[in-house]
């Protein structure tokens, strides 16, 4: 009798699947439960951001930028504004910079809450997700007070802000911060220190430092591999050099350095660090200052001017390459989105793991498809 004929099975995970965090398609080549190759297929959410930007004035691009990463719209608007301001050489009033930092860090917390919660969901715990959404809702309330919107704010404009903070905003922000540490403790109790959660994530999908750097993986994923690289520290923009905070890195507390648990834990610790930054910024926030004073009437960077500006988005390094031809319309706006590079490393780190682990690893990379496909 001949040997039984076996072959590998190609499994399409997505574009509609509960755990691909959007319309992502993973082509898995599986041998039973073991996955031997993962090919991410992207582009299902491509909205031609870069083509749109070719035909729009500088100011008109910023709402589009918000929509790229809809989980962290504030950060994206901030990144774009910083890039254009650097091209023009605009100095901002201190109040604007402080409010921007506060907003950016609140958005980072909100984004990490989704990352932590959906990661719990991917591993099978439903309750932590709802807990995380509860706190995110409070942050969205704050954003709504300031900008009027809950998801896509267009709050940070080139050279200033859309509105000043409304009365009572600062007090509410303090209120949130006072409660927040207790809630993080809750997440730790229900998820972080859960034995099953640790079994599922520790040592799973280890991302070695060299591989991470080579693939251009940045943000919490790179820091989870043990490198304290953060654009806010290495190349400080805005007022980040005025605050006291540390860059959390993965230490392999439950397994080896760079595993899914480390990437998760870095996000938990980053939320606390962001809360620290917000508290300092709120303390230092100048009472006076016109948030629209520095907004330029016409934006015409010199002909041939170009910039690649780096920004620390919740998902990693968000870069804007902007090129001017001297008119009020940029010739090229390229968005180097962090999740685009982060997910390209997926195949490298999920080979040989089981199908459930691929979902864990994907969740630990914290991707947003809007940003990958643009």
């Amino acid at each position: 009798m001949g040997r039984l004929h076996t072959e590998e099975m190609i499994l399409n995970m997505g574009p509609q699947h509960p755990s691909t965090h959007g319309v992502l398609r993973l082509k898995l080549i599986t041998d039973g439960e073991i996955v031997s190759h993962v090919e991410p297929v992207i582009g299902y959410l491509h909205r031609s951001f870069e083509k749109h930007a070719e035909n729009l004035e500088y100011q008109m691009v910023s709402p589009f930028v918000d929509r790229a990463d809809y989980i962290a719209a504030m950060n994206n608007g901030h990144a774009y504004a910083i890039a254009v301001e650097k091209m023009l050489g605009i100095e901002l009033p201190p109040r604007v910079e402080y409010i921007r930092v506060i907003m950016a860090e609140f958005q980072r917390i909100a984004s990490h809450l989704i990352a932590v919660g959906t990661f719990g969901l991917d591993v099978g715990g439903i309750t932590p997700f709802i807990y995380c959404m509860r706190e995110r809702e409070l942050i969205l309330d704050l954003f709504e007070m300031a900008s009027g919107a809950r998801l896509l704010y267009n709050y940070i404009w080139i050279g200033g802000l859309a509105h000043d903070l409304p009365a009572g905003w600062v007090e509410k922000a303090y209120e949130f911060l006072d409660e927040f540490d207790f809630h993080v403790e809750e997440y730790n109790r229900i998820l972080t220190t859960n034995k099953i959660f640790i079994e599922r994530t520790a040592d799973v999908g280890v991302l070695p430092v060299e591989v991470a750097i080579n693939y251009g993986v940045t943000g919490p994923n790179l820091r989870g591999s043990g490198i304290p690289f953060d654009v806010r520290k290495n190349q400080p923009y805005s007022f980040y050099d005025r605050f006291e905070w540390k860059v959390p890195v993965g230490e392999g507390a439950m397994g080896s350095v760079g595993d899914s648990w480390d990437r998760y834990m870095v996000r938990i610790e980053e939320m606390l660090e962001s809360a620290k930054i917000i508290r300092q910024a709120l303390d230092q926030l100048p009472a006076e200052g016109d948030v629209k004073a520095a907004i330029p009437k016409k934006i015409r960077p010199p002909k041939g001017a170009e910039i690649y500006s780096r920004y620390e988005n919740p998902r990693g390094e968000l870069g804007f390459y902007i090129r001017s031809d001297g008119t009020n319309i940029p010739t090229r706006v390229k968005m180097r989105s962090p999740a685009f590079s982060n997910i390209s490393a997926l195949n490298e780190i999920s080979q040989g793991w089981m199908m459930s682990d691929v979902i864990t690893i994907l969740g630990s990379l914290d991707i947003v498809l809007g940003e990958i496909d643009r």
């Binding site: 091209m87 591989v211 080579n214 693939y215 910039i307 690649y308 390229k334 685009f340 390209s344 496909d373």
Partner: protein, 162 residues
Amino acid sequence: MTEESIYSQLSAKFGDACLAFENEASHNPGALIDSTKLMDIMIELKENPAFAFDSLMCVSGFDLGEEAELGMIYHLYSVSLNHYFTIKTLLNRTTPKVASVANMWRTADWHEREVYDMFGVIFEGHPDFKRILLEEDWEGYPLRKDYVPAEFYRGMKIAKER
């Protein structure tokens, strides 16, 4: 290491291949190089321990105009030495071809595919060369300045810009 000293060392080694040092208009100073020598210069930048550019932050294409050339710009960063450099090169519009650096920096894999997708630049030696964001059978390269969208895509009418 400053960008100037990186450029002077590069031009000392590669001579004519380094066309110019760009630091006036650009906020990220770097070298404009001859596209045929790209691979050699990139290997030097990555492997030379004095440069040690272990991270390729971004690869972007750009179009200088309907009559002019296409450009490629590589933003490099060294995590270990914490310095930056930019490599820019101009390509012929009709047959844009350049060596792929995807095997050196895996970041370039997807970024080069995106540049191909949007500008039609052919990367020689790329391990998995195909479109990434658009459909495989999409016609044309949208981010070129002379791009005219097709009338139909698989029988669906493509909306015209107003």
